[in-house]
Amino acid sequence: MNLTLKIWRQKNNSDKGGFKEYKIGGISKDMSFLEMLDVLNEELSEKGEDPVHFDHDCREGICGMCSLYINGKPHGPQQTTTCQLHMRSFNDGETITIEPWRAKAFPVMKDLVVDRSAFDRIIQAGGYVSVNTGGVPDANEIPIPKTLADQAMDAAQCIGCGACVAACKNASAMLFTSAKISQLALLPQGQVERKRRAEQMVAQMDAEGFGACTNTGACEAECPKSISITNIARMNREYFTAVVSSNNL
C-alpha cells in the first residue's frame, strides 16, 4: 500500500503545532496501524528527522495507552483501540489524517501524545475502598447476583483510553467517570464509600475542565470497550442521591 499521512506535529505543549504530510510506501495490509507508524518513524530516524511521537504500550487492546484521532474518529474507523486497527481498514492511495485527542483537560505534550493524568486524578478522588483484612476469605463469601456482577464487570472493562472524551462534542469525561463510579457502586464491596466516591469523582471531573454531557451517545458508539451510557444515567442517580443524603455539607 502507498499512503499519504497528514500528521499533527507539535514540538511541545507551548508550541502552536501544525499538520505535516508524509508519503509512505510498501505498507502491508496485515500491518497494524501502529506498525505502519513504526515504519514511518524508522524512515524519519534514518533521515535524521524527529520521529512522530505517539502513545502505545501493550499493543493488545487492553492497556488503554494508545490514542490517535484517525480520519475524524477516535481509534479510527473500527470500534477498537488503535493498536488493534489494521491497515486493511484503509485503501491504497488513501490520505490518512492523524490528530491528537482534543480537550482542554488533555493537553498535547508532543505531536500525538496527550497528558491524560486528569483521568488518574478522577480515580484518585474516588479514594480508597474499605475491605476486610485478615485471613483469606472463602470464595463466594459475599453473595453477588450474577446480573450485578456482569454489569460491574462491563463497567470495569473501561481502559481509560479517553476515546469518549475525544469523541464527545463537549470533550466530556462522563462515560469514563460513570464507568469508574458504576463498577464499585454495583458491588457490595463498594458500598461503604459509595456516596463520598460519587460526590468527589464528579467534583474532580468538573475541576479538570471537561465539558458536560448532551447525551448524544457518541462516546458509547466510539468506545473500544463498548461501555454503555446507562452508566452515565447511573452516575447521575448516584450523584443526586449522594448530594441529598450524604453528611457532606
Binding site: E99, I229, R234
Partner: protein, 226 residues
C-alpha cells in the same frame, strides 16, 4: 457555598436544571396544544375566546404560567452557561470530524435548534400573548358576557402566507429539538432502564412528531378554511 448551590453549579446540577425545565415545558406543550384544538371547533371562535379568557384570568393557570416563564428563562440561561463551558472544554477542534457516524444530527445541534425555537417564541408571544394581555382587542359578547376576540386576531394573522410558513417551519425545528430533548431529559435524571427506556424513546419520538404537527396544522387550517 451551600451544598445546594454547589450541586446546582456542578455540570450534573446544570444538566438537572435543563432536564427538569425541559420536561416541564413538554408538559406545557401538552396543555397548550390541547387547549388550542378549540380553534378547530366550527363556532366562529366562541369556545376558543372563552378558553382564552379563562387562561388569562384563572389564578391556578396564572401560577402555572409563571412557572412556565421561569422554566423558559432557566432553560435558556443554563443552555448558554453549559454551551460556553462545553466550548472551552475543547479550545482546539479537529481538522476532520466524522461525528455523523456516531450521533444524531439533532443531538449535536440542540443549541442551534433551541435558538430558532426561542426566536419563534418571541415572535409568537408578541403576536398573540402580548396582544391578549395588553393589546386593544375587539370585543365579542357570549350569553351577556364580554370577551376579547382573540380568535379574530388569530384568523387575521394566519391570512398571511409568510406567517403561516414561519409557523410551520418553526414547528419542524421544534420537532427536531424535542426528538432529542424528550428522551435526553430522562437520561439526565438517571432514568435509564432496560424495561422503560425503549418505551421512553418511542414515546419521545411520537411526541416530537405529533405535537409539532398538531401545532402546525392550526395556522394551515385557519389559512385554508377562512
Amino acid at each position: 457555598m451551600s451544598w445546594v448551590s454547589k450541586t446546582l453549579s456542578s455540570t450534573l446540577g446544570k444538566k438537572l436544571i435543563m432536564a427538569l425545565t425541559g420536561l416541564f415545558l413538554i408538559l406545557f406543550l401538552i396543555g397548550h396544544v390541547s387547549g388550542n384544538t378549540l380553534l378547530f371547533k366550527n363556532d366562529g371562535g366562541e369556545a376558543f375566546n372563552i378558553y382564552a379568557k379563562f387562561m388569562t384570568t384563572n389564578p391556578a393557570v396564572k401560577l402555572l404560567s409563571y412557572i412556565t416563564y421561569i422554566s423558559v428563562l432557566a432553560h435558556v440561561v443554563y443552555s448558554i452557561i453549559l454551551t460556553k463551558s462545553n466550548k472551552t472544554a475543547r479550545p482546539i477542534g479537529y481538522a476532520i470530524s466524522k461525528s455523523e457516524t456516531n450521533s444524531a444530527w439533532s443531538s449535536r445541534n440542540m443549541g442551534v435548534l433551541g435558538t430558532i425555537v426561542l426566536i419563534f417564541i418571541v415572535i409568537h408571544l408578541q403576536g398573540f400573548w402580548y396582544k391578549m394581555h395588553w393589546g386593544n382587542l375587539p370585543m365579542v359578547e357570549y350569553n351577556g358576557e364580554q370577551y376579547k376576540d382573540l380568535f379574530a386576531i388569530v384568523q387575521f394573522a394566519f391570512q398571511q402566507e409568510w406567517l403561516v410558513a414561519l409557523y410551520v417551519l418553526s414547528m419542524v425545528f421544534l420537532g427536531f429539538h424535542l426528538s432529542h430533548g424528550f428522551s435526553s431529559a430522562f437520561q439526565t435524571l438517571g432514568l435509564n432502564h432496560v424495561k422503560y427506556s425503549p418505551a421512553i424513546k418511542k414515546i419521545g419520538l411520537a411526541f416530537s412528531i405529533i405535537v409539532p404537527a398538531l401545532f402546525a396544522s392550526m395556522p394551515l387550517y385557519i389559512y385554508f378554511m377562512y
